[in-house]
């Protein structure tokens, strides 16, 4: 983890409520896809933890949904705005377990961390399938990003306006894959847990205090003992999760 002042290079709306922000600064603390950053928002006491979409030597890109006071303020940040960010938080996904043909399943605002993972798995020569779950057409984002790096993309919408009608599991149930990685809301996780075969990793969300393991605010019980979502997670292996 590093703390620093980062400069907003761009901050654009992808849908009515989802934004993509590119921040410039030290990214040396990012070591795995699935890690997150924790941003100070003026006027809010606690930082805002946001998962990393992608990063390179000197920029980190995040995608976030406006859900409350903090993210409403973030959506107004202009190019050149400077913010205090903790970077490189959490464990991230373990890519070594993917096998040759993993499937990545993202639901709504759980999709962003799947991109950094997808890009790195493809760079390793893996054949990656991606399932992106949305409610309806107007909420779709990032589909082209996954397609442009060579993933096989399957979109599901609850209302059937685009792609497969239904939930991510409606795409998953007939698929073959060596391993799965997922991030999204809890009802989606429970459906995946009932549908998926073989090993996988889930990236969890929880209300956090610090984001770096000090306050114990986001603890959960696992088969291997208590874990802090922010520090020992957010990614947990399928076999250790207590549902």
């Amino acid at each position: 983890m590093t703390q620093g002042i980062y400069t907003v290079l761009s901050n654009k709306a992808l849908t009515d409520s989802v934004y993509k922000m590119v921040l410039q600064g030290d990214t040396s603390a990012l070591t795995a896809p699935g890690q997150f950053v924790n941003l100070t928002v003026e006027g809010c006491y606690l930082r805002r933890p946001i998962s990393v979409f992608d990063w390179d030597e000197n920029t980190v890109t995040i995608i976030y949904k406006v859900v409350g006071e903090g993210t409403e303020k973030m959506a107004k940040w202009q190019e050149g705005y400077e913010c205090d960010v903790l970077v490189g938080l959490g464990n991230g996904f373990d890519m070594s377990k993917s096998g040759d043909a993993p499937v990545l399943i993202g639901g709504g605002v759980g999709i962003p961390p799947m991109f950094g993972l997808c890009k790195r798995l493809i760079a390793e020569g893996k054949k990656v399938k991606v399932i992106l779950g949305f409610n309806k057409e107007s909420e779709i984002f990032c589909k082209e990003d996954f397609e442009s790096i060579g993933a096989s993309v399957y979109v599901t919408t609850v209302d059937g306006s685009v792609g497969i009608k239904g939930f991510v599991t409606d795409a998953l149930k007939n698929m073959t894959y060596t391993y799965f990685y997922t991030c999204g809301p809890m009802p989606m996780f429970k459906a995946i847990e009932n549908t998926a075969v073989g090993g996988g990793q889930y990236s969890f969300e929880e209300r956090m205090g610090c984001g770096f393991g000090a306050c114990m605010g986001c603890s959960c019980k696992t088969k291997y003992g208590n874990k802090r979502i922010c520090k020992d997670g957010p990614v947990l292996e399928r076999e250790e999760i207590i549902w």
């Binding site: 983890m1 809010c44 306050c215 603890s219």
Partner: protein, 303 residues
């Protein structure tokens, strides 16, 4: 040159800044970021006899200039604290630390305190009397003078080290509790623990925190803490470790003027992991600005 050294119950502290229990773990998360040997001391994560998971999540809620937590004393239990956590803390921090002790019965406080008392690394025991008394219907020990005194008296019997009684502010008259602790043999008072608070989510229309209520901390509570320390300083003759919303060197000085010999920094660590280091670094300049040569001269100076 200004003097930031203070003596807390026989411990010579390089400065009065101590991270508060529950906001600093066992130090090593922060040691990844900076050399924590700059800290006056460390009050480590509240320790109970048995390991505890704590309360269900969500355990955290944000407030204006503060936060609510209902972690519920998650800790690995005193045996693991001694065998695993304290050696890890020792590897990154070479001064004496403050052992924060919790309990749900008098016997548990005694057992836990007597085990930590044997640790050379531990300089002071800080007894958190804000835990529910499971033998008395779950009412907190610390909300009655009698309950507080019973815990302190029992702990004093099994320890050789100085004992701080950590008081809850959620009482009618905190000076009564402080006096009862002093009479029961407490060597010092640390105060204040969090204020009982609540937030309600407008979308779900239910409390944000799973346990509905939790402990409110952060800069918003500084005036409450200053008032309470000021009141207690007038009544007791033992040193006070002041805490509640401290986030800057100015806050440290204000708390010492109210009557604190040393201070603890809590919630600030969670939003700025460098908070204690920053406060320590800015302290000499702020002292000079206010013509303070020696921190010892300002303790209780507002009275």
């Amino acid at each position: 040159m200004v003097n930031t050294k203070v003596n807390l119950l026989g411990l010579e502290l390089d400065n009065p800044v101590i991270p508060a229990s529950g906001t600093f773990g066992f130090g090593y998360e922060y040691a990844e970021l900076y050399d924590i040997n700059c800290l006056g001391s460390i009050s480590f994560k509240g320790t109970t006899l048995e390991s505890r998971f704590g309360n269900p999540t969500p355990r955290i809620a944000e407030c204006t200039m503060g936060m609510i937590n209902s972690v519920g004393l998650q800790n690995p239990g005193v045996y693991k604290v001694i065998s695993e956590e304290l050696p890890k803390l020792k590897a990154v921090y070479n001064k004496k630390v403050i052992a924060n002790v919790g309990g749900f019965s008098i016997e548990e406080y005694q057992q836990c305190a007597s085990l930590l008392d044997k640790e050379e690394q531990v300089g002071i025991l800080e007894i958190n009397i804000s835990c529910p008394n499971l033998h008395a219907g779950g009412k907190n020990f610390g909300v009655s003078a009698e309950g507080a005194a019973t815990v302190i008296e029992a702990v004093k019997k099994v320890t050789t080290k100085p004992v701080l009684a950590k008081l809850t502010p959620n009482v009618t008259d905190i000076t009564e509790i402080a006096l009862a602790c002093e009479e029961a043999g407490a060597d010092g008072i640390s105060m204040i623990n969090t204020l009982l608070g609540m937030r309600i989510d407008l979308k779900t229309k239910k409390p944000v925190i799973h346990n509905k209520m939790g402990g409110f901390s952060g800069p918003a509570i500084l005036p409450v803490a200053l008032r309470a320390v000021y009141q207690v300083y007038e009544k007791v003759n033992i040193p006070i470790v002041g805490m509640g919303g401290i986030s800057s060197a100015k806050d440290v000085i204000e708390m010492m003027l109210a009557g604190a010999t040393a201070v603890q920094v809590g919630a600030a660590n969670l939003v700025n992991p460098y908070a204690c280091r920053d406060i320590i670094n800015e302290l000499p300049a702020v002292m000079e600005k206010y013509n303070i040569k020696d921190l010892n001269e300002i303790i209780g100076g507002a009275h």
